[in-house]
Symmetry: C2
Subunit: 714 residues, 2 copies
């Protein structure tokens, strides 16, 4: 035993505490581990027939009943039964790490681990399931060691169960291989089947697969005891994205992977790993929002130099196209071919947004208000005929329209210390994008672009592939890694939902992967939308939600568009705090900001990178109030968003440094404000506050408030 | 009328004679045109219901009965009926052009053209069928002009019929979406169905589709009058490759396109064109071999500088791996991953062919015998585990094995004025190849490689795609065009069959796309194989057949391999003439050549580019004898190949310049030679000849002869 102890001591923890314990049993048995705070207990049991199962309790209450583990393979025996447990390794781990950007300065990665090795005697194959139990939840993944009898294999389906303890309230989206841009439905799981049809609203590319198929992150709340459960995945690399198939009789959720064009759900070669399957658990909703479990389960970054990765606040030539006021395209020509159209010979339509003069006005505005960058969409040729045609060669990513002067804009932006954000819409044509990737990134390097917004609108080309299958996920990963080689930050729209990969690849500064502000121009989103997203989509990583719409009534500038933003103006400010992202757009047109510069002051002031975060109050679907401390500064920002009911938010400012005096500027809804009837009724007031202050602040229906809190005298 | 005449005079012919005649009818009617020599007559008739048909006669005899034209579309009405003819344009064209390399110095492109515009009133769509009638056959294609009601469309199936006039003898391969590497079956069309099963021999990737599906080029011979008919396609770009589905009751062949992973057979955007469908016709078999119709139907090259494109005679480190004597791989490691294997830590297997010393020996040999280049396969990492696993990241194309010294070999080859030919096996993983294409070609440019042999062994990755579908054809085209940007010549193996594209892209100096010499090491090919290939596969373009095997009994150097080459040694020499290619390998190992340097003299002497070609005698499946005049020289080379029966070839040397004296060196089978029993029994004799000489030369079973004819005193 002394020898073992010495051995254990000799194992160095990378940056933290590592305890390793390895025991080998000859027969199957139950394995338990507890979370560091002992509130969570995981139990792994090989059931009759060698079927591996796991269950989870929280404070003695069942979270997950025994759920099966394993995978079905194509043209090979399943890895779901016939297993014997050949070993169980335990270790504890505790380290703290600093994210390149984030909600907090330091993240603690503290877990107890159980790695169970399962061997299938009949096929002589081995699979390992590695569980990590945190205070905030569970992560586990499959590991397939290199072995003679399992080298290459094809996943027919992953059969991981999440066996809930009864019917739960769920905040859900229809499972879909191609889009996440649905409105969240709030219902009991037992009601999913009945509400599925209505939930599947039209999208540019969509492939639902079941009347009870759901997406992750799936947010659940248990009726009986108010327990919150969130199910997602972490570190989705070289694997297909997971959906959840609901058994609505037994309330068992089972993994359902995204198939590729050949119907396969994963082509794997040992040694290899599945993504982590994650279950965040707490009896406080705020804990779900503060969980760093998904990030912690991702690998530390291997980037040696991260100095080129910087959070970004930006305006853009974008909302005007989304709302139909101007156009991405330079002409109204139909059916064009990039290799034969000569734009000098085609009549301009006169509505092209991305023209040099207009972009300069945005650069001027950004410079004046201290914003970092200007996004410009529709700058490159091809937008006349880019969408829904499954066109292969749809964009070349390097040829500007005749009225967009790349060199002059580079000079101008540089002189104003503003960056222009590149836009690469791929129209889903992934091969075409890869073919042009090097030249596109070289173009960006040449002209001083440091960030790119990518887009994958419409079906993936070649047809048959899906936005979330392994082959296409590998494409996003390829783009991300290529971008890093060019020191380019990526904000991927319509790409697969994030799974915390930004820890490993911190140049992934944003994703869409949900219903963003753009839908407010396409009929609108529910007023409670932003009280849910942080519990669902944002669990995987930051979202480029594009808040900040001041003129919420689109018809005022485009009478053709009767959509309106389901939010008060004050709440639009709150989103800069509640919807965490290192990439924040001030999404409205600058003429609207110029009408409300007093309110715009909050956007000008608010940070995009943080030293600390405190979720003050939260209930999914009802309200979220968050305070965040600006990176390297003493100032705090608070944001609060509520649902269509309105409410009074009561918060305690005890997050402030004791003894210090602060000035709080409160941007709030007026009493008569209302997201639909009176969205622009806001008021701004300044008050002195300390850590002892309390605040009761009215939030209008679909409203909210934002506060900047600056140390007095600074 | 004067005005029209003036107009016609004003239309300039590009480099030849152009006559344009445009007439518009309001009702459908028959349209006829004749070939320039009037032996062929094409008739186009709109049958009842507006169904377009065409028929063809040769010297008054029916070649093709009325066959239907058109396409079925996906999710749109068919383009097969309901047409009215709205115009018919006629013109004549006659020009001569010089290929960058070829069988002759100058090619005459002389045809009469009929372009019929068909309009479908019900859908307001227009399709044009352009027919070009040559003295040697017919080409026609579909053209889809830019039009409001037909912008993007998906081809469900092309419905082009070739309505034969009864049962014909056919030289056929099973239709297959992924391979052409079958033995040719010689049978009547009525026997296809019964012989299909046996014809489908195993291949690394194969997808047959029908019991009566056939490949092109399809060579036919009509029993009743000995008419020869060859059906293929020309200028296959951005379209899927065509097969032929045989109706074996009516002897109608109908086009059958290759589907992609989504089941689609073509995603098209107007304006666009189908490839040409070609029908070569003659009562002389030699005319089929001399036809330039497929080349003529391709566009002239747009390359301004072609000085970097040069025919190549080469040896290679290749046959030793094919026969199992040495290995592509450097180790015997199984299940490797390129990004994690460290070859310095893995034990070499000691059988790696592509090692520096061995390659130097090949360079020495090439230099000594005046050959241009050395092909080296297995030089790059990954060959331990490259095949049949549908591996994505299978090769990187730039990392040599530790025992292959790229820089030293560049220096050494350069000092000997020899090129090394690059090898890029993709294992069918087309995305991986495209991702590495730029760096791979830059690597080639850096280290002085000017030609690449590409390979697509195994199923296309991503799975579901086929070697001959539109998406994958576009890949080959992309590689070809990228290669041209880097001044690199391409020799594509396992890629789609050529369709004369080398006229437009003369850096496509070779293709495999049939059963090459390698199959002689995999069980063997029929002894008549090379009497058929020039009538089938070679109609589309040159083949890298890799002739020149002197040691035809493989077991002499690898006892494990009992395959043998179904050819005498003398016939191996003949193939350098009969199997036209600007890229000719001396495929055997140099130790075998050193045992027969007297015979190797022919390979050393034979040209790879020609000023003239004269097919002296030919009968598909029986024999072919061809004389060719070396480019820019007075010397001629003759090759003759025969089937398993053996024969005496009687030829007339009247192709020689009258009045000149020549010395002919004849490399022939001895009387007791036999492809199986006595393959190396050859004799070499020199005789004086003139244009009045005749020669009766014995060819052993599976044998043949080769002659070099040099002007006396030179």
């Amino acid at each position: 035993m002394n020898k073992l102890r010495n051995l254990l001591r000799a194992v160095p923890a990378r940056r933290g505490l590592l305890l390793l314990c390895c025991l080998v049993w000859s027969t199957a048995r139950a394995e338990d581990i507890q979370s560091p705070n002992k509130q969570l207990t995981l139990s792994v049991v090989l059931q009759e027939g060698g079927v591996p199962t796991y269950s989870l309790t929280y404070k003695g209450k069942t979270v997950l009943k025994p759920g099966k583990l394993g995978l079905e393979l194509k043209d090979a025996p399943s890895l779901t039964s016939g297993f014997a447990q050949t070993s169980a390794q335990r270790r504890s781990f505790d380290e703290s790490w600093q994210p390149v950007w984030g909600e907090v300065k330091t993240i603690r990665n503290h877990y107890n681990e159980l790695a169970v090795t399962l061997t299938q005697a009949q096929t002589n194959r081995t699979m390992l399931v590695r569980f990590r139990l945190y205070d905030d939840g569970l992560g586990f993944r499959y590991e397939f060691p290199r072995q003679p009898k399992l080298d290459y294999f094809v996943v027919k389906e992953e059969k991981t169960q999440f066996a809930l303890n009864g019917d739960h309230k769920a905040f859900w989206l229809p499972g879909d291989y191609d889009t996440q841009e649905y409105s969240t439905v709030t219902s009991n799981l037992s009601e999913v089947r009945g509400r599925m049809k209505a939930a599947v609203t039209p999208n540019a590319s969509q492939t639902t697969f079941s009347a009870t198929g759901l997406q992750t992150p799936l947010m659940l709340k248990r009726s009986q005891d108010g327990l919150y459960i969130n199910i997602h995945e972490a570190a989705l690399i070289d694997y297909s994205a997971m959906h959840l198939e609901l058994d609505d009789k037994n309330f068992v959720l089972e993994s359902h992977l995204t198939p590729d064009a050949h119907g396969d759900k994963g082509l794997l070669q040992t040694p290899c790993l599945s993504p982590w399957r994650t279950v965040i658990v707490s009896d406080k909703a705020a804990d779900i929002l503060e969980s760093k479990l998904v990030l912690n389960l991702n690998e530390p970054t291997k980037f040696k130099d991260t100095s080129w990765i910087k959070p970004v606040k930006y305006v853009g030539v974008w909302w005007e196209m989304i709302t139909g006021k101007s156009t991405w395209s330079y002409t109204n020509q139909e059916n064009i071919k990039l290799d034969s159209i000569d734009y000098r010979k085609v009549k301009p339509n006169g509505t092209h947004g991305a023209n040099t003069a207009h972009v300069k006005a945005y650069i001027d505005f950004a410079a004046k208000h201290g914003l970092d960058a200007v996004l410009v969409e529709g700058w490159n040729t091809g937008w006349e005929d880019w969408f829904g045609k499954h066109k292969d060669y749809v964009f070349d990513f390097v040829t500007p329209y005749p009225d967009f002067d790349v060199q002059e804009l580079q000079r101008y932006a540089q002189s104003k210390n503003v960056k222009i954000i590149m836009h690469h819409e791929t129209s889903g044509s992934v091969r075409n994008y890869e073919r042009h990737l090097d030249s596109a990134f070289q173009f960006m390097n040449k002209y001083g672009y440091t960030a790119v917004k990518t887009g994958y609108v419409g079906d993936i080309v070649p047809l048959g592939h899906h936005h979330y299958d392994q082959w296409v996920n590998n494409h996003y990963q390829y783009v991300l890694e290529k971008a890093a080689e060019h020191k380019i930050m990526v904000n991927g729209h319509e790409a697969v939902r994030p799974t915390g990969l930004a820890r490993t690849y911190p140049n992934l500064i944003g994703n869409e992967a949900a219903r963003g502000t753009e839908y407010e121009a396409f009929g609108g989103s529910n007023a409670d939308h932003t009280t849910i997203l942080p519990f669902t989509r944002l669990i995987g990583g930051p979202m480029d939600y594009t808040p900040g719409i001041f003129q919420t009534r689109i018809s005022t500038f485009n009478p053709q568009n009767t959509s309106f933003v389901h939010s008060t103006l004050a709440r639009q400010l709150a989103l800069y705090v509640t919807m965490y992202s290192p990439l924040q757009m001030a999404a409205d047109m600058i003429e609207h900001y110029n009408e409300h510069l007093d309110a715009f002051q909050f956007i000008e002031d608010v940070a995009v990178d943080w030293d600390d975060t405190d979720v003050l109050e939260a209930e999914p679907g009802d309200y979220i109030t968050i305070a965040r401390k600006a990176k390297g500064k003493s100032s705090w920002f608070v944001g609060s968003t509520c649902d269509e009911q309105g409410r009074t938010s009561t918060i305690n400012l005890n997050f402030l440094d004791p003894g210090k005096k602060y000035v709080a500027t409160i941007y709030a809804d007026k009493k008569d404000a209302h997201y639909e009837k009176n969205p622009q009724a806001y008021q701004i007031r300044k008050v002195s506050v300390t850590s002892k202050s309390k605040l009761a602040q009215y939030c209008a229906p679909g409203g909210g408030y934002a506060i900047s809190i600056v140390e007095a005298g600074r």
